[in-house]
Symmetry: D2
Subunit: 363 residues, 4 copies
């Protein structure tokens, strides 16, 4: 059982949707780094619920309390612990799912794993709310990487089948990430964004939900980051990204599309450019053999539609062992893709910083 | 840097394409288990090169030597170490790639990581040959799981854009896996298989290569296997599967397809069937919240086309820092998808056995 | 850098002596267990400062707040996080040691490691105060083990060269542990305890300090617990026990004494007793080859005298690179051995529970 | 279950006393390092059996075969695997201990752990023979550290109660280590060595055995190596050192002796010496708060007398559940302390190199 990740930077995430607090301990951060608390807070806001009409009605201030790890605002070599108090819990909304599991959610599987001991309320430890501590850790790792010239950004790649533009895989840069943030809605193409919003509201009106995809880029990486076989960049990123609820797939570079190409189409030839070795395309998503090539690192994840919908659904009573009908209560997003965007950045930041420290070790 | 994987069953893979030997140490296997050496050998043959006209001309007996870990043919609690001697190495074929990296391969990235110290010959530690020790470990884990009623099988899902049938996600079983094996070529639909073979030979004739996808299923799993957040089944499987060279994407259940669905379409409602709780569909691929639901576990991976092609390609001379043209020599598969099939099974078996031991721990 | 320990039960300890809070996240606890909060509180009191005239004047309520991990008072499979607010910090006392390191303390080494970024105040993350979260985790693990019939107890073995009686290595039991607790001062022999107290007060009167040894026993263990080579019981216990500040040595069974014996004297012959295989002596301290024999597990640790003494000491100014004289301020125990007693129990409990889960995994 | 150790440099040891081979995989070695194979062989000879009349009659060439990890004699970033063939196994000698466990050995505990599946022959995976792969890994790590100016040496501290001189804790250096090696018998004081040899032969003549202690020093360490709490130098070294069979205790610096001192006696004051901060004594053994001080790192371990003696011993028949008398056959050392000396150096070297890489990571 493990809500722990990392080799050099080790995170240990705790909390349930309705527990006293949620939070994270980050062991192994480089010392002497002064986190920008405003930037941290802004990052948390991107993930927070209740930002607009597209999201859940649950409004949480999500105020991050630093419990330890800083001296005069700088990391001091001691683990950085941070917590967020849970203040706005409606546990009563969850009484029925104690017995009647929500389709598409972890209610049933957690019940089977923990023999009925699991925290049902609000989804417990399986709640999307637990991505908040991931974002705390990720925001700090991201800031540390930025100091090294490594930037991470993501955007909605699609929602309900409506596609945004893609990052340019050859020259995506921090400017693109800022452009995404400047939009209220994290897309590159504002028009596509409008269509997505309409699709979300349409689903919401029907008590239904939509899914989507997120594209993430890491720029400024040197060639040579990542390790062979099971600690390659793909392995590291995939392991942490699947820790975000609702993610069901990940692909690097052109991913599944590569499967239908010929080698001569898919290979990215090398060429000299300004005295540096680069590739002519970036089908490989900046990773070959698990190791960075110096090109932008690119990956895409699939986010399933929010399982908590307000339509009546077939389910079972686990106590009575009989079929039952479920009507979900509570506050649920008709689309979580926009909130997954910062979570994916956070996950990538933690994985990349951990690999970065391994990279530095042998130099 | 790590060619190690696992928490309870820990594998440590060693070797280079042309080193004295390649192999694996497996620490933490359940004891008292008698591996079926013939079944192990048969499994290795599925991965081995030189099986037919579709593959590389390199023929390796790939005879597995057990160095330790067995007493009277049974696991004894000591680590099981196994090695395969490298007998058929043509290092001279690799002289030019020392300086001129092959597009799509790890030559350049390994060079940047290891500062020129890496083993270039045959791809060194990054060679597809290193999937042989993975298959040794996987074959043994698979046999142990079979004793528990857990079966693992995979097939080619597509090659060069030509699709095989899918496993039936509700009732896939060991019988389907046997059906795949009975074919010389690991597909469900023999006709599709013929088209794939033709596509591979067409690419080969042009000195080119093709990619594809592999679908893998795990049956017989109880509900409740897998752990929260970073040790869920998706995380565990993804981390090891990306250790297989050329894999660029993974999706569980309907994966990327789910992104375009509504929640009401994608959720799998529960129902009672023969006194057991099951789902009405299996879009979730047998995993919710990282934990198994008791339905077949299903995932799909993308395999890029073999990067080593015989067509002339643009590259660079790393020593001269100038553009160069590369002609790859050596023996290379025009398609590795059929050989990736057992590797994916092996990776899944190791991940599932490791999770299975965690599952047993708390019971 | 790591304040993390454990494979199945993973603890991540955070905090500095004067940070907002100190605490621990415990990942992987068995679920459905109801911690006895009164027993936890009582256990914390044994470690707490300010209990009597022998200790520091710093009085901390050390009230444990459970932030997550329980539902209706029972573990729910989510990580258990607990924190203690720091309320009684006198940071001003530590201003001089910022520049002039205290002999015998981690001031200088932490300065060299963290380049001056470390938290100096109160010893920061190196403070003995950080054993409080260890005790939280240990107290809960201990309670879980007790449910399995495994009991852990320790006592002062010696202080300032004055020896307590030893546990009877053949038949030590929970009754002995209760006897130790019934004393206000954790010894078996009250008379020896009186002499120790006198020695501590004598040292205190001189602004000096004393050290001692602690003996710990684990009873009720089955034979067969622990794993080969680097995960044996000795390895596991030693790794965590050295996490308690001031511990400089550990020995199992007769330990260093064995070095002077002959094999014929040191070996513990087997014999049948009530149908069970036992040993005739317990020089081996209940461990052979890293694995428990079913006899009481016994070990002893050396605790150096508190380095913070009030006598003037030679030191250096790190900023001026010149010799200096240091007068320590703050509140410091003349003897910490009695407070180390529960810490050693806590450390042993965590190590044993972690091994216990490995033991169950293969059964 | 784990014969794996390490975070950055990960070793995985395999083999049984009478298996086909024993060996080790070392993952994560710095690349571009050329091991001195003669020095490796010389180091192995120090551990090898059959060197003189003091040891076992089992003569093993212990020829190390490098299976992978080198290119042109230099580490190449791929795991280094090495094996030693077992050539001189007398399994028949071990038939009786299958049923009648040797007192003081792991026969009984391994039987209880592995339910009778363990390899009994020659002690299986618990044999002292398994220190050979530890020495391979240690010898290579030691050579890498030497390149950084870090030297490791050990000597017999005592045998059968007869004490050697101690290293000078202030100025021990590589010259002392060479002096130890120059003796045929690894002591500082040749006269004490003669007495030890006599004591060993006296025990041997009686079919008995003797134990002893080993002192180990690491010189040339910078201040600031090691990590807080559970990854301090003491924790790291203790965890691996207890992987050497027969070790029952470890102490750092003055260790258990410190327990009887006052703080004013035990603290090592700082002073300036040639512009560098040093301590006036080295009671702390070069470690404070788990972190190196820049003074020599010193520790001492207790080695119990060889449990395999030729005197008749009481034991039990595990199959018949009745008392029995055991006469040990086979080839056993009357004293293993001299052979433990290089093993302790090897263990220390692996732990220090692993910590060294963590140290470099943050610089």
């Amino acid at each position: 059982m493990s809500s722990c990740y990392g080799k050099n930077v080790k995170i240990s995430i705790f909390g349930q949707s309705h527990s006293e607090a949620i939070g994270v301990v980050i062991d192994g951060l480089p010392w002497g780094f002064q986190p920008d608390m405003q930037a941290l807070s802004d990052f948390m806001t991107r993930r927070a619920p209740g930002q607009n009409e597209l999201g859940t009605a649950r409004k949480e201030a999500d105020r991050v309390e630093i419990l330890s790890g800083l001296v005069n605002g700088k990391t001091c070599g001691a683990p950085l612990a941070a917590a967020i108090k849970n203040t706005n819990a409606h546990s009563a909304d969850y009484e029925n799912i104690m017995d009647i599991p929500r389709p598409g959610h972890a209610d049933f599987t957690a019940h089977m794993k923990f023999g009925g001991c699991q925290d049902v309320s609000g989804g417990g430890h399986f709640s999307g709310r637990l991505t908040a501590p991931l974002c705390i850790a990720g925001a700090i790792c991201k800031q540390i990487l930025e100091r090294e010239g490594i930037c991470i950004g993501a955007h909605i790649d699609s929602v309900a089948g409506i596609s945004d533009d893609k990052f340019n895989p050859m020259i995506v840069s921090a400017a693109d990430f800022e452009r995404v943030l400047a939009n209220g809605f994290p897309v590159l193409n504002a028009e596509a964004g409008e269509k997505m919003r309409a699709a979300i509201l349409a689903a919401k009106a029907e008590g239904d939900s939509v899914g989507g995809t997120v594209e993430c880029a890491v720029t400024g990486l040197p060639a040579g980051l990542g390790d062979p076989m099971f600690d390659g960049m793909e392995n590291r990123i995939a392991q942490i990204v699947f820790g975000i609820p609702a993610i069901k797939g990940i692909e690097f570079g052109n991913g599944f599309e590569a499967a239908a190409l010929r080698g001569s189409e898919n290979n990215d030839p090398y060429r000299m450019a300004n005295g540096k070795i680069v590739t002519e395309g970036n089908n490989h998503g900046g990773i070959l053999g698990g190791i960075t090539s110096g090109m932008p690192l690119l990956f895409r994840v699939a986010v399933k539609p929010t399982p908590s919908i307000f339509k009546e659904q077939n389910s079972v009573s686990m106590s009575k062992n009989e079929n039952a009908v479920l009507t979900v209560k509570g506050r649920h997003d008709p689309c979580i893709v926009q909130r997954v965007v910062p979570c994916v950045e956070a996950a990538a930041a933690i994985a990349v910083l951990d690999a970065w420290l391994d990279y530095k070790m042998y130099r």
